[in-house]
Symmetry: C2
Subunit: 211 residues, 2 copies
Amino acid sequence: MNAPLKPPKRTRIQTEKRERILEAALEVFSTNGFRGSTIDQIAEAAGMSKPNLLYYFRSKEDMHQTLISKLLDTWLEPLRELDDSRDPLTELRGYIRRKLEMARDYPRESRLFANEILQGAPRILPLLEGELKSLVDEKARIIKNWIRAGRIAPTDPYHLIFSIWATTQHYSDFDVQVRAVLGYDHYGEGRFEDAARFLENLFLDGLRPRG
Amino acid sequence: MNAPLKPPKRTRIQTEKRERILEAALEVFSTNGFRGSTIDQIAEAAGMSKPNLLYYFRSKEDMHQTLISKLLDTWLEPLRELDDSRDPLTELRGYIRRKLEMARDYPRESRLFANEILQGAPRILPLLEGELKSLVDEKARIIKNWIRAGRIAPTDPYHLIFSIWATTQHYSDFDVQVRAVLGYDHYGEGRFEDAARFLENLFLDGLRPRG
DNA sequence: CTAACGTTTGTCCATTCAGTAAAAATGCAC
DNA sequence: GTGCATTTTTACTGAATGGACAAACGTTAG
């Protein structure tokens, strides 16, 4: 089941070069979007000439496709870890934290993904309807069971997941806006801890003062 | 204080045509991003020739700039309405609902904005650092007062506002993903009501079961 | 009618950009 | 080394696109 199609059989050099190119492509695509990026930019960022780059990747599309495919797997990992058998609130808190850590550690991936969805997900709609939907369905079932058992408050599991995605990815996708509003002085290393504390609080207890 | 600079002194026809162009430009820019859109596309959508369009707008930049400027005002209106003097929870619930309604009624504007921020806000960073920051600072002060008075639970007002932005705009910006995950059968007219109910619940009470 | 003005169109140009072709250089097995 | 495969460079093509411009068209005031 592991990589069922074409074992590309690459030399060490090819693997390394492809890696370097993808790294550069991620940088460029995530800041300029697909149409806003040029092969020349990517080539420059990867430290090689455009035709040389095109020796390793057939086309611009090809690079983008490769990036997106690799991305989705990493992206869903935190959700996959959501575990039936442990304490619900701890599990959800853990999920939020892992997702926020991804936003912190992989902001370029997040923006690449956001760009793709914003444009209507032309290249990954099938993946969203298939793999993504299945996973979310599965985890939603888990959450529903928690609710039925009275272990978390009744709520819509799908929208819950959406809101976790939205709030955490906001810190990578809208980073510029966050920084502008918080002001560049207050915006040190502690900001992700602040966000984490806030989100944990919000999702667990909400705004209404607890009796 | 109304339109302090250059009264453009336009004929009725000019106003109408410019309106028609901006409408078309919004449609095109919001689906393809700035670089992904061509003047020809916009001209076609507006039902006129490219040179004709360029008679009304100096350049592609010009159209984009005009759209973005108009946008921010509308965009901040819901937050402006947040009122010191009324019940905090009602006020915040009202803000969430208004913001969600904007996401429903102006998805193209939302995506245009998201695109701009994603690319690093090259054209509106000053506005974010100025107008936006001031407004948020002002409203954050109100929220802090509510907290001090014990009328809402202690939390970070800035991150609270961010999370309201994130969750509501998610339904316009990531609409494709939301639809793909919910499945197209369950995805009828009621979805915005579902989202509204969920968010209200989340922000007010969180997930922990109330005693 | 006609001069003046605002509007529209057809045509053109320069640039950018994805992708190709083929030669040149490099590495590598023997 | 010699011959073969891989990699890199130089030079180019063709399409897309933003924008310029002048001529043509229409409308209206006198």
